[in-house]
């Protein structure tokens, strides 16, 4: 059966580009010529960030198949920032991009289910099931285990959505926990990789890739090889691979 990953792969092939553009809204990085059109209060700031972020999308949507919106940079502008988040999701979707909410959520079962409803699933509004932020992918933190991840997987199955689970992250201190060796000599991140592989087993599409994918930092190339073996059916979202620019960071999704 065709799944989200098949559609993503199709898009990557059509564009001949496995890049994800990361749009981080930070007011200080908006050019003066945009800023000066708006007031300096929170409403003007968000309008300036909206205009600039839309311009970034306009300049890239026909060459880059997917966009990653980092929630933190929107949350730090409060309620207006979340409004902007929603507007940017809708704008990217109107340009037919695959949209990833980089939210790194995760909690105990019923609460994870709330997060999943927010980003991937639906919630009951006005007595009807309604999508809320309605993205294609969300990122998920695995520290709490299966019953944290399962509600997301349920919605992946139900609505053909996807998740990228943190396996080995690209930051300097990622090794403090992720590289710890367990009793059998295998590192924690590999244990997580095995979990990701089992979580994704039932959601594999016609190209052989599951809607359950992995975040794997490119700062550690040797690990990429090992992890590919442990997760043969998972796409990798690879921060740090490709150019990192001031306003928009590039990520890569690779088979």
């Amino acid at each position: 059966m065709e799944n989200l990953m098949d559609r993503l792969i199709e898009k990557i092939k059509a564009y001949n580009n496995p890049t994800v553009i990361g749009v981080d809204t930070r007011y200080e990085l908006v050019p003066e010529c945009v800023k000066e059109k708006y007031s300096k209060d929170i409403y003007g700031m968000c309008n300036a960030m909206l205009e600039y972020s839309k311009a970034l999308i306009d300049a890239t949507y026909d060459i880059i198949p997917a966009v990653k919106l980092q929630s933190a940079y929107f949350e730090m502008y409060g309620v207006e920032g979340i409004k902007l988040y929603k507007e940017m999701i809708e704008y990217c979707k109107s340009k037919d991009m695959i949209v990833m909410a980089d939210v790194k959520r995760g909690d105990i079962g019923s609460t994870s289910s709330g997060y999943s409803k927010a980003y991937l699933g639906k919630n009951l509004i006005n007595e009807k099931e309604e999508a809320i932020f309605d993205v294609d992918f969300a990122t998920v933190n695995p520290y709490m285990g299966s019953d944290c991840v399962n509600p997301f997987i349920e919605d992946c199955r139900k609505y053909d959505k996807g998740i990228f689970i943190l396996v080995k992250t690209s930051n300097k201190s990622s090794g403090e926990l992720q590289d710890l060796k367990t009793e059998d000599g295998e590192e924690i991140y590999k244990k997580v990789a095995r979990l990701v592989n089992s979580w994704g087993e039932e959601l594999i599409g016609k190209n052989g890739y599951s809607n359950v994918s992995a975040v794997v930092g490119a700062t550690y190339p040797k690990q990429l090889e090992e992890l590919r073996k442990l997760m043969p059916h998972s796409y990798f979202l690879i921060p740090g691979y490709g150019a990192q620019r001031r306003k928009s960071r590039r990520y890569s999704i690779r088979i």
Copy 2:
């Protein structure tokens, strides 16, 4: 020097109550008599949840020192839900409660800094430093290590705020990662406990407790004892200790 934990301890002593009330906004749990006053659309739903949640606070703020607001249940109502989150934070603060944002955030350094600005620190709005959601505590996920946690700790220091870091969570599958034994025979959650202890060292108040605290599930009492030894300066937020009710869940903070 007096810190946030000293103020929390003072409040716990004055109320003779170490309980945290958890307010989870779920529309289906709002009584009919409240619901019927409002429309069924998202605005009416949020107004009904606001009225009921305020009533829960009105009934408890003079006997319970702290409130925990679970972000997932607000996010699942989208932008209006976040507006409600902000309103509830402000209402709880107006009642002089200690407010915890249960957001379980965490990311690489610069992005964690965005999250910390949103909940604990300040962001530049209208050319002035301004608090955004402005709670006392946020919960943090440690999977990405020190450079994920440090921006939060910086704001804890700067603004006398606090964090509760997930150490051993109360859910069934928490052991899948957290209980894995490392090469030296010690479990991952104990390694995290050691990190929490070191992260909190410089933020200890006059009662001997750090603004860097730990989430430890009460479902595993033996572990509580071991963790107390590893984190002598951390308060514990203990989900599952005390009554769990339909609408409001109780948590306990214990020395």
